[in-house]
Amino acid sequence: MSKIVKTITSLVSLPIIVFGLYIISHGHLTPGGGFAGGAIIATFITLLAVAFGKEITGRNLSKQLLLLSESLGILTFIILGFFGLSSTFFYNFLANSGEIFGRTILFGLNPGYINSGGMIPLMNLAVGLEVFSALSLIILLMSKEND
C-alpha cells in the first residue's frame, strides 16, 4: 500500500485500541459491552493486514498466540460461572456485597460508578478477549497468500 495509508495507520492505531478498551470496560454503565468492544479492536488487526501485508502482521501476532488467547477467554468465562455455585450456576454473588465491584445502587438516575456491577465487568473482559481473538483469526486465515 502507499505511504499515506501506512502513515495514517500508525497515527490512528492507538486511539482505536483505547476506544475499544473503553467500550469493553464500561459495559455496565454505557451501551456496548464485550461483543461490540471486541469487534472494534478486531478492526485494528484488519487495518494492519490491509496496509502492511499478511506476512509482516503474522510475524509477531502468530496464529498460535491468537488460538491461546481465544481459548483463555472462553475458559475464563466458564470458570467465572463456577464461582457462584453456592446458589446456582452464573450467580452474581459480588453484587451488593461491599467487596470489589460491590457497591449498592438504588433505583433512579445516577452518574455511573465503575465500582458497581458484580460479575458483569469481569465477564465483559473475558468475552471481549474471546471475540477479538476469534475475529482476528478468521481475517488472518482468509487473506491471500501471495501478493
Binding site: G33, F77, F90, G117, G118, I120, V131, A134, I138
Partner: protein, 87 residues
C-alpha cells in the same frame, strides 16, 4: 413470468402476516420487562439493563453464543489447514 408471480405472492403473504401483529409502539405483554426495569438496578447493581439481561438474568444464552464463535473460528482453521497440503 414465474418470477413476478412469486414475488407478488410472497409480498402479499408477508403483508398479511405483519398486519396481524400489535400496532407499532404499543406492546401487549410487558410484565417480565417491567420487572427487569424496576428491579434490575437493585439486584445486579448495574445501570445498563440490557447488559444485566445478557450477562446476569440470561447468562446461559451468552455461554452458547461464545461457544458458537469459538466453533466457527476452529472450523475456518480446519478448512484452511488441509488446503496447504495440496499445493
Amino acid at each position: 413470468m414465474i418470477k413476478k408471480i412469486t414475488i407478488i405472492i410472497l409480498f402479499i403473504f408477508l403483508l398479511a402476516a405483519v398486519l396481524s401483529l400489535h400496532p407499532f409502539g404499543r406492546p401487549i405483554f410487558t410484565k417480565m420487562d417491567d420487572y427487569f426495569i424496576q428491579n434490575g438496578q437493585k439486584e445486579t447493581g448495574s445501570n445498563n439493563i440490557v447488559s444485566s439481561v445478557v450477562f446476569d438474568y440470561r447468562g446461559l444464552d451468552t455461554l452458547g453464543e461464545a461457544s458458537i464463535l469459538f466453533a466457527a473460528a476452529t472450523g475456518v482453521f480446519i478448512i484452511f489447514r488441509s488446503r496447504k497440503k495440496y499445493v
